[in-house]
Symmetry: C2
Subunit: 236 residues, 2 copies
């Protein structure tokens, strides 16, 4: 199944419209035509069985034959707060894999030891959209603007949210011990830069209610830690 | 801790020699000198506390002050049999992440729907070595020559080896159900190319004793499936 995307604002009155690059891809690359069926998601949980009624390179108009609740979403909503990385390609890969593995949102963070101070949000959003479609998810994960880690620690979360911070030296509490597989609710997991969080940051996180969790005995690269953490938190 | 590598053949008589690129890196980039301490592994499970006695750009000679059993190895030995991928960079990333996550060996495979028919073993071996050091492991995972998938299925494994094959449509048996977290022994997991294994290949795998396991409700890219599978199999 190939999944297409259009924002909910483009769904109305028994029809939907796909515009921009997505339309160009459907018409020019995939050569879909009037009468062809498409599965379309609005990135907010709905899946439409659509049929093309008019297709140009800039706009694909469809009638909607049916609407279903989309699948593919994990029982636990996971927010990944991951430090920007020296190598931008590695952070992009982190975004792609986190979305495939079911993350609800990615919050890029700037910690004391983070080297780049800014990032490329538009590019990450494109990657997240492509990964949502690839993985047949129907909720488009948000990728936020990079935030200072200390400011991030003050973010309010809904009652009962598990607050976790990955820490290499933490060998007593593993991630699955703190967040059992298959659980629901919401979890926030912070993963530091290449050099890790500073002792001050770890203390500030603990004061903000974050539980330090280990990811096993091997020293993982920052992006590997983030990917493994999301995989362990979302696996059914 | 920075970890260095030299093959066991270079360890003898209370000393060891590091040669080639590793020596150049130690001397030219890290500027280590006579009297500096180094942690060195032979990639076969030993960790040496070494002290440099003579350093040139081509050879670093050390005396060995002590030998310890290295850590960082998972209780379960995992062989990842992963199809080559259209994008060689994605296969290289798969090798890196699998090694960080504790894989014992990587067997590149050529299945019916695999697009490239050959790969770059030397490059993968370099990546595996770097990832072993990065992750503070002391056993160097082998990366084999690419093998035909049908031939691979006939490989003998030691008694009691779990034989698993990742299959997107398998929703009854998840990977952790077939291979409980924290288990020991040996597991082989086969992961197909972008288009998946063919029905014939799945049947041949079943006939060879391979159990089909699912990796959750999301459709994962081939390399993501491989990384998640290794992570779930090695996590303590």
């Amino acid at each position: 199944m190939e999944l297409f995307y259009t924002p909910r604002a483009s769904v109305a009155g028994g029809g939907l419209v796909i515009a921009g690059e997505e339309a160009a891809h459907i018409v020019t690359v995939l050569r879909r035509r009037e009468g062809d069926a498409l599965a379309v998601t609005d990135g907010e949980g709905a899946l439409y069985d659509a049929v093309i009624v008019r297709a140009t390179r800039t706009e694909v108009r469809c009638s909607v034959r049916g609407t279903r609740a989309g699948g593919g979403e994990p029982s636990r909503r996971v927010v990944l707060a991951a430090s920007l990385l020296r190598n931008p390609g590695r952070f992009e890969m982190l975004v792609e894999k986190a979305v495939e593995l079911g993350v609800a949102a990615v919050q890029p963070i700037v910690a004391e030891r983070t080297v780049p101070r800014h990032g490329r949000r538009e590019r990450w959003e494109k990657i997240a959209l492509a990964a949502m479609k690839q993985s047949c998810r129907t909720r488009l994960p948000r990728v936020e603007e990079p935030a200072d880690f200390r400011a991030f620690l003050a973010s309010p979360w809904e009652e009962g949210t598990l607050r976790l911070i990955a820490h290499e030296q933490e060998s007593r509490t593993t991630l699955p011990a703190a967040a059992p597989p298959g659980g629901g609710g919401m979890a926030v997991i912070a993963v530091g830069p290449e050099g890790g969080f500073s002792p001050d940051e770890l203390a500030a996180a603990a004061a903000a209610g974050y539980v330090a969790v280990g990811l096993g005995p091997r020293r993982l690269r920052a992006e590997t830690a983030a990917i493994l953490a999301v995989g362990l938190l979302t696996f059914p």
